[in-house]
Symmetry: C2
Subunit: 156 residues, 2 copies
């Protein structure tokens, strides 16, 4: 199987397959005389594993751990579960951060009449800060959510 076919049947792009090989996440594929990478169904299964783990939001680093456990026949399911629970906790944190942003934005957007006039509570909040904002009293944006660095929350 060439890389294109392995890509199609695993759902991992050829580019990423080569990348995963380069960083050592997967073993180096065999090669034809001409230098083409060759894949077996076992390799495709590995790639599918990676693809599914990515779909669950696991970082490549975590996937490395998961793969190690997968290939360790004497693993303890507790170890796998712990990785999953950490992943859940990480997702929870980021969801909460984004939810806080969304709540604040919703309050501001609700307070903005959105017509032809220039006056806008959204801009007012950005200029003066939430403390001085024309806040009806509902916005409970926590100081913590603002002082944290909101890492990685922009769309790529």
């Amino acid at each position: 199987m060439n890389i294109g076919e392995a890509s199609k049947s695993s759902g991992v792009s050829a580019k990423m397959i080569r990348y995963y090989e380069s960083i050592g996440l997967i073993p180096a594929a065999g090669r034809t005389v001409a230098g083409y990478r060759v894949y077996t169904m076992t390799d495709v299964q590995l790639l599918r594993f990676i693809r599914r783990a990515r779909d669950l939001g696991f970082s490549v680093e975590k996937i490395e751990e998961l793969l190690a456990l997968w290939q360790d026949r004497s693993r303890q399911s507790a170890d796998v579960k712990q990785i999953a629970l950490e992943q859940i906790a990480g997702l929870e944190v980021r969801i909460r951060e984004m939810q806080a942003m969304m709540d604040t934005l919703r309050h501001l957007a609700d307070a903005c009449c959105g017509d032809h006039r220039p006056d806008c509570p959204i801009l007012a909040d950005l200029v003066n800060g939430p403390d001085q904002g024309s806040n009806g009293g509902q916005d409970e944006r926590t100081p913590a959510s603002r002082s944290e660095k909101a890492a990685g929350l922009q769309a790529h």
Copy 2:
């Protein structure tokens, strides 16, 4: 005011202030004879604006638009509101994606007894896919959430 003080009173790191200047998000600061950047309270206000917008998850590109509107005295609040609504929509999408991941992971983790034995439904799901997974019937992971590329959902 030197860049260090401007950084402290705006909450934007010196590194980022220089970066924002380099990409044209903020005008080039004045300089002392020795080449040090000099900032006024007006500049700090601008930096605070940016900082707050970042805290709400806006990308630098969107902040550019917001700044343009802010400085446009004949702006229409509807334009500002629209940017905010787009931001809300984007956050909503990403929250939903992460929520879907979390739900799946929770089902899997719940099904994993987490003891010393190697058998683990989490690994089983990763290996065989959700269709073959030992799924009690509650997991409604949608095909869409898996086929989308889950962009930018890993922690930085």
